[in-house]
Symmetry: C2
Subunit: 241 residues, 2 copies
């Protein structure tokens, strides 16, 4: 199957959770909005968002085109791709559990984004900096630890062992945990340095994912965009308290 | 199948999206945290959140116990219940689409909550009122219309007709659209009065759901809690701009 991924060019964003799954599985995919040429680039992406003739239109990127179907919402895309890419166990209850974890990661990512944009996505950061600083205090003191504690607890409680978030093989959830830790290290380096010793299993998952052959190649390729301050994970020293 | 729903007592919250599906289908369920007695009430709910021996622990309510499995995340619960309650079509692609719409409703609900809590869920509203007022301006001027326009477009574009969000029969997505419109009317009555004429199909879905026999009985029963200002949808006149 050939997949077409559509996401805002220039940032990792929520699209990165999908890219990591496609890259790990050496899937045949095009990152359409980053390409140039006919039926490529941002114009190709906007077509699906704005054309009123599209059935099942996405509300926002990322979305995936697989044959005739178009699937949006990061967690939904991963739920769809998981079985096709061999990145989730077969049992139905385990797939629900994988998806539940992915949705909790998505909630965390939403909170991380809103630290620098607590008022509106239509304003620049500098236009909502005072609100962001106030929110960041609560985020770094309460929310990061609440989520990391939860995911560490899930790893610790995995009856098949703490090498993976679920079962005894890699799933797309592990890849997303890698991205979460990497992003938090970029955005909140001081706070993460304090917190990481409390979550050794999560750090180990991060490191093991980073050294998987396909992921290691991806991370040094041009396909992996660097973290930057137009993205979900942003480094503003004044928010890293 | 007997279902146990666990959610914070005293508010509709995210649990209400699940209740509406269970009520429409006349499912056999207990709203455990609202009951008193042994193994009931808030204590019973906290057991699943805090006991380190629980496999597949929820991060937060709502969660559903169905036989031996525990499922969290509102949209995931509805995805699980949909086929069992006859509230989603059979085709796999249609189920992905229903879930995608539900996840977009969940994003909208998150934004609605954060209008009155833009800084932290650990603070009271009056402690973040100035930030809330600023956020509310952008929410009422941009975000409400962006989401409602999208859902109206989905209804208009349904190839089976605009009576339902997808296909030609009721799904759990329609029930959630009802709750969304009802909640927005409670929280932002002035703004909704201005906006509703632009989204006639959504209003019609709301009205038709409200008059379905099982839903009509539910809405006048004690099981339906009234909207209130401890909930996701809150009415603060100063935010209804």
């Amino acid at each position: 199957m050939h997949y077409e991924l559509y996401y805002w060019p220039g940032i990792q964003g929520r699209g990165e959770f999908v890219r990591l799954a496609l890259e790990e599985a050496s899937a045949d995919y095009a990152d359409v909005a980053r390409l140039s040429g006919r039926d490529k680039g941002l114009t190709a992406m906007m077509y699906f968002l704005e054309n009123s003739k599209i059935n099942c239109p996405p509300f926002a990127p990322p979305f995936l085109k697989a044959g005739k179907i178009i699937i949006a919402q990061t967690s939904n895309i991963l739920q769809y791709l998981g079985p096709q890419l061999g990145l989730v166990p077969k049992a139905g209850a385990t797939r629900l559990w994988a998806h539940q974890l992915q949705l909790t990661i998505a909630d965390f990512v939403g909170e991380i984004h809103d630290v620098h944009h607590p008022v509106s996505g239509s304003l620049y950061y500098h236009q909502q900096k005072s609100e962001a600083k106030r929110r960041a205090g609560f985020f770094t003191q309460e929310r990061i630890a609440k989520f990391l504690y939860y995911f560490e607890r899930v790893l610790k409680g995995n009856p098949e062992g703490s090498n993976y978030m679920l079962g005894r093989r890699l799933s797309y959830v592990d890849l997303s945990i890698f991205q979460l830790i990497a992003g938090l290290r970029y955005a909140f380096p001081k706070r993460m340095k304090q917190l990481e010793p409390e979550y050794p299993r999560l750090v180990t998952v991060h490191d093991r994912i980073a050294s998987r052959p396909n992921i290691a190649i991806y991370l040094t390729s041009d396909r992996r965009m660097p973290f930057n301050n137009n993205d979900v994970f942003r480094y503003y020293p004044e928010l890293d308290t």
